[in-house]
């Protein structure tokens, strides 16, 4: 490592103002601090600092995303081979590899586009490169359907990074969750690629792997997709392929929980997401207040809807527990709502913010047939209201202080 350090020190002057490559200073610094923890010491203020920094924080979040991502890759392969009727003949490894190859290009595109813009804007501002996009760039491929074309991801990522983040001042200044803006952009610009029965299961081969024809009777509909198109009062959510005699078997709570169902890449397995949640909560990175209250809000609203279930809204027949296992609810609760920058920042505010996200997700899901899933819209909506919630919480603190001043003296 000493050699590397020496080499970096040798080339460093080229990147400083006046040097040959001064235009790449931010990028150089980015890589230098990536390789070596900066050894600048405190000049004023406290003399010692906690070991945590923004790089470590983002690393932990990515680590927490891995279970859901890896499971998502496997599930992409699983759904594919199920659709072409070769599931039993395909090994676990092949299934995973198929999914891995299908998902990897999306991750690469998202990172290349997003980080590229991040690098350029850091250099323009003369800032250090900030790590926020490392997480957003991983989230983006996980919340899109597997068949989203790469160019769409590139366009949407570019839009989100520039208009949802950089124009507000970069990491820490954005109002909306960047990954969700990417998804919202795709959702409204290319609706046919973001919902429906044909996007959530990849039928075609990936780099020549897994070619085959879909089995007869394959539907490709996600459980929430089925709900949205349901017309009768009896809800039956089924598998995408019929069994030997042509019957569609019903999928159970256990299936939703494990996640071997069609859906966006990273969102299907509640179990994998909960492992991520455990990492985030144990390390103290994410707010348990938000996470808890999103689930509470979702359960409460779903319970309410279930109590007054009506045939007009088939979703209301689904049990509350199923609701939080279905679709993107758990993923949004664990990874989206807990984004500290776009969420509420006061402790009391976090409870309100989270509860409303949970409740609104279920409201959209059940009572608006136009949108099968409400998690994205609920989080984005509450992003808008988070500052308002905080405003009132801060206001109550101020009121308390004024009251004390009026009373005068000892409390």
């Amino acid at each position: 490592m000493k050699k590397l350090r020496k080499y970096i020190d040798k080339i460093k002057p080229n990147f400083e103002p006046g040097g040959k490559f001064a235009k790449f200073q931010s990028v150089f610094e980015g890589f230098e601090t990536f390789l070596f923890v900066p050894n600048t010491t405190s000049k004023s203020g406290v003399h010692v600092h906690d070991s945590i920094d923004s790089k470590r924080t983002m690393t932990v979040v990515i680590l927490a995303l891995l279970p859901a991502l890896l499971f998502g890759m496997y599930n992409v392969g699983y759904q594919h081979y199920l659709a072409i009727g070769q599931l039993e003949a395909t090994s676990f490894f092949t299934t995973f590899l198929y999914g891995f190859l299908a998902v990897l290009p999306k991750i690469v595109v998202s990172y290349v586009v997003g980080l590229g813009i991040e690098f350029i804007s850091a250099q323009l501002r003369g800032h250090e490169i900030q790590e926020g996009f490392l997480v957003s760039g991983m989230l983006i491929p996980m919340i899109v359907p597997v068949d989203t074309p790469l160019w769409m991801i590139a366009v949407a990522t570019a839009f989100a990074v520039i208009f949802a983040k950089e124009i507000f001042g970069g990491t820490g200044m954005n109002i909306f969750n960047v990954a969700l803006i990417t998804r919202a952009f795709l959702f409204f610009a290319y609706p046919s690629k973001m919902s429906g029965d044909s996007v959530f299961v990849r039928i075609s081969d990936t780099f020549g792997m897994g070619a085959g024809n879909v089995v007869k009777g394959f539907t490709g509909a996600t459980p929430l997709g089925q709900l949205a198109t349901q017309t009768s009062g009896t809800v039956q959510l089924t598998n995408t392929v019929p069994d030997a005699v042509g019957n569609y078997t019903e999928i159970t709570t256990w299936d939703y929980f494990l996640g071997l169902i069609p859906g966006s890449i990273g969102e299907t397995s509640t179990l994998a997401i909960l492992i991520g949640a455990a990492i985030l909560l144990f390390t103290g990175i994410a707010s348990w207040r938000i996470m808890l209250s999103v689930f509470a809000g979702g359960l409460a609203m779903a319970l309410l809807a279930n109590t007054f279930a009506s045939a007009t809204y088939p979703g209301s027949f689904v049990t509350p527990f199923d609701h939080i296992c279905l679709g993107g609810f758990a993923f949004a609760a664990v990874f989206m709502a807990t984004d500290p920058v776009t969420g509420a920042r006061t402790n009391v505010g976090k409870y309100i913010y989270g509860f409303l996200i949970g409740a609104i997700t279920i409201v959209i899901r059940i009572y608006n047939n136009g949108y099968p899933e409400g998690a994205m819209l609920a989080v984005l909506l509450m992003n808008v209201f988070a500052p308002l919630i905080d405003y009132f919480v801060v206001g109550s603190n101020i009121k308390r202080r004024l009251k004390r001043a009026k009373k005068g003296g000892t409390v």
């Binding site: 990536f34 923890v37 600092h49 923004s54 976090k350 101020i398």
Partner: protein, 449 residues
């Protein structure tokens, strides 16, 4: 208000190198100095010149704007030099000691018979008034404004700080005299914040016990939990370590600036208590009790949270109760440190595997920032170490924007930079919060007066 206040939000940073309860006399110091920078907001007017004979208590300088506030020599001898820096700023006034500690005489100091004005005059004349600070603004108190209450913190909860009751052993009389003197300066109460297991027996004041983690010993936290400062009110604050100096004068009639401090930190060979005098040269305090090292070491006059970086050639700062030595860490190049398990790295979060070693493990933390400065990203970090009914993040943001209304509403009058020291320690974004608050207080004071 309860008699026992529990402080839960906070943090005792587990540093290695705690001093054993064993007092050693410091080596004889030749040079002593006072440093104008210690007295925030004071514009120094020098009252002596090089070569002047001084006694303990001879004014060396005063505040240009408030000449009644004087700063005196802690020793007797001759003025050696007045060192100046850029733009002729006075860096330090150095006095060469004659080792006699001849003190200026004060007549008839029976606190019980003295008028409040006489007590105040004595404090001003003896230079001891400089140890009394005020909230709002955390500057040396304005002697003209009578305080609502006076708050004394009788323990220091900062990392590696000395134990006050150990230091003050045998000085109960002086402490009581100090309290009696303070009691005459306010129509309100004198509150003394002590540790939960305190043995202090004092009369004429209200004792409030505090239990819990740092910053329980910060006077600001104690005020917030006893009787918070509202807009328009002024309270005086001081540390019992400094009250001892005041008490000695009223108890014995003699000025005595000697202090028992801790010499602590991971780079100290045998961390101990050291008996020295305010302003003594750092080298006399450390002498040979420092580890030999081929890396850089950082000497801090004060604790690791609020102290000042000094060198061995500098002097013990006026308000310092300890000298801490830690590794500087600037020669350390840690390869992909953000990805390592980090078993030996201290963090309040559990993002490094050091949590495996439990809460009793002590750490050797160097002076590195350990990360780049970022915008405020994480929420709730500051709140977890800020035990007042104040929203620290929102206050900091109001200060950065210098929105006076908001600063007032959010409690700027109740805080001092030191209250934000732990926030600065835990901050993922590595922002200089104490500096931000200090600048905000200064700007606000200018605006208001």
């Amino acid at each position: 208000m309860a008699d026992l206040v529990k402080i839960k939000r906070g943090l005792d940073i587990p540093l290695v190198g705690e001093a054993t309860k064993n007092i050693q006399p410091a080596a004889k110091a030749e040079m002593y100095a006072i440093v104008p920078d210690d007295f925030h907001g004071v514009v120094p007017k020098i009252l002596v010149k090089s070569g002047d004979e001084v006694k303990v208590g001879t004014p060396l300088m005063c505040d240009k704007n408030r000449p009644e506030i004087k700063f005196v020599s802690p020793v007797s001898g001759t003025v050696e030099a007045i060192n100046r820096g850029e733009r002729r700023k006075v860096l330090e006034i150095v006095v060469k000691s004659d080792d006699k500690f001849d003190a200026v005489k004060f007549e008839s100091l029976d606190v019980n018979k003295m008028e409040p004005q006489a007590i105040k005059d004595t404090l001003l004349e003896s230079g001891l008034f400089a140890f009394i600070k005020q909230r709002p603004y955390d500057v040396i108190a304005n002697p003209e404004v009578a305080p609502r209450d006076i708050f004394v913190t009788a323990f220091d909860s900062a990392p590696l700080a000395p134990d006050f009751e150990f230091v003050a052993k045998g000085e109960g009389k002086a402490l009581q005299a100090g309290i009696d003197a303070l009691a005459k300066l306010t129509s309100g109460k004198v509150y003394v914040g002590v540790k939960a297991d305190s043995q202090l027996a004092l009369t004429g004041c209200q004792i409030v016990k505090f239990k819990g983690v740092h910053p329980a010993g910060n006077v600001g936290v104690q005020i917030a939990n006893i009787a918070p400062v509202n807009k328009g009110e002024v309270v005086w604050t001081l540390s019992a370590f400094d009250l001892l100096l005041i008490g000695r004068l009223f108890a014995t009639g003699k000025l005595d600036f000697s202090r028992i401090i801790t010499l602590a930190g991971s780079e100290v060979k045998t961390p101990v208590y050291v008996k020295t005098v305010m302003g003594a040269s750092i080298s006399s305090i450390i002498s040979s009790n420092i580890k030999e090292a081929d890396y850089n070491q950082r000497i801090i006059s004060g604790n690791v949270l609020t102290g000042t970086k000094v060198s061995a050639e500098d002097y013990l700062r006026a308000y310092s109760k300890q000298v801490t030595i830690i590794p500087e860490g600037d020669d350390c190049n840690e390869f992909v440190g953000w990805a390592t398990p980090g078993c030996g790295k201290f963090s309040v979060s559990r993002t490094y595997f050091s949590w495996l070693f439990g809460k009793n493990k002590k750490y050797n933390i160097d002076a590195r920032l350990r990360g780049g400065e970022r915008g405020i990203i994480m929420s709730g970090e500051y709140d977890s170490v800020f035990p007042m009914d104040i929203l620290p993040e929102f206050l900091v943001k109001a200060v950065i924007a210098f929105d006076i209304d908001k600063m007032e509403n959010l409690g700027i009058y109740e805080v001092a930079p030191e209250d934000f020291a732990l926030c600065e320690f835990v901050d993922t974004s590595k922002l200089p919060l104490q500096q931000i608050i200090r600048n905000g207080l200064d700007a606000l004071m200018k605006e208001m007066n």
